[in-house]
Amino acid sequence: MLSALLVMSAIAAVLGAVLGFAAIKFHTEGNPLVDKIDDVLPQTQCGQCSYPGCKPYATAIAAGEADINRCPPGGEEGIRKLAELLGVEFKPFGEDAVPKAKSLAVIDESTCIGCTLCIQACPVDAIAGAAKQMHTVIASECTGCELCVAPCPVDCISMQVIGEKIANWKWKYPVYAMTATT
């Protein structure tokens, strides 16, 4: 009886020491889960999730404060990835958050008055221009977040859907008459 107790407490002590050592030795700075979630998010920084950016949303998810279905630009694919990462059930988009086709902000340069409001709104610095100068969206950097649309006092920014072109065309999932393998 006594020896059993001793053995058990000895094991407990050793394991506790190992765990304690591991906690110090393998300690990681920051919260790796937040970074992992942030990695899955599309980085549009659009704020549609009601958080001021992707990282804050990731932090909120990690803290269990936010649902995983708040990111329309990430699409259902994104929700699926988050569900897998966090080990929770897939959750479809609510009615208030519907994914849209990927699009690009375009400034009508004849209307632009050069007020720089859109430049200040752009979360990824994808608009070039200076005060009283015409502004232009750098297409390759635009994430399609739409944050520049509202501040424009002359409504010269429109979102244009990126259509299918040869350059971005993808082979489709094979669809055939019989549904045997699906």
Partner: protein, 342 residues
Amino acid sequence: MFFSPLISKSDSVSAIMLKVLLALLPGIVLYVWYFGPAILVSITLASLTALGTEALMLKLRDRPIMPFLKDNSALLTAWLLALSIPPLAPWWMVVVGTAFAIAIAKHLYGGLGNNMFNPAMVGYAVLIISFPAQMTHWIAPHGMVISELTFPQQLDFIFHDVLPNSDTLDALTMATPLDTLKTHLHLDQPMRQILDMPIYGRFAGHGSEMVALGFLLGGLYLLASRIISWHIPAAFLGTLFVLAGIFHLADPAHYAGPLFHWFAGASMLGAFFILTDPVSSPTTNKGRLIYAAGAGLLTYLIRVFGGFPDGVAFATLLMNICVPLIVLYTQPKVFGKKGSQP
């Protein structure tokens, strides 16, 4: 929309399955020759049940019925199951076993191509665990017992459980050669004396060894027509041969020889028809060798040291479980790559 390639070899799942069914014919003919036509009754019964269950399950699963009924896979399951159980087993056993095999082991896993376990062997396992007594209704070969049932009498027994007044079941049926050997070895009879009993033939059971030969013949046809590869039969029969050989050499009085194990029980049927089921066996050649060698080892162990009359069915099912792991660890080297592990 059509996809390249635009040409294909004229072959189909149903043609492959049909060839496997054809390959079973020599064994079935010899079965009828030695044991009478009762086996044809269970094959028919199993076939009808299989097709019926298949159609019902497809309907429940909202799948097209005709293309799948025509793929012959349900028929193959039915035939293999019928060949594994005693011909004089009551009709409802055949029906229950087949229906279980098709409905549970095949369709609940997703139907053709998705079952993890060999459906026929699942059906067999269910029957031998649930109805062990009825699973001993093996007909004795012609000339082995005093009175033999005529075909109508056999039908009467299968469907109504009625025997002619004068007969008892024991007088009509016999234990299998594997079973008999096990029983008599328990009684400490020497091997030579046991094998001199009339139930034994040249290398194994009288009659049943010829049926096994028939299956071997059909198996060679499958090999020749490249429907199966040599890996599984070779590894299975090889392992069985080596194990039986070692034990036999070490103690001939208590362990039967390799040829006995090859031609007794379901060895040949298992080697060429059951273990080679593509759906539930590994997809890599190295994996096939491991899988079949494992099945050979388990078969021998179950036969010689276990409680069941034969080991092929349980060996198959146990190895089925290991298939995903075996496949993962036996990935072949990819063109131009050094290692093989994904």
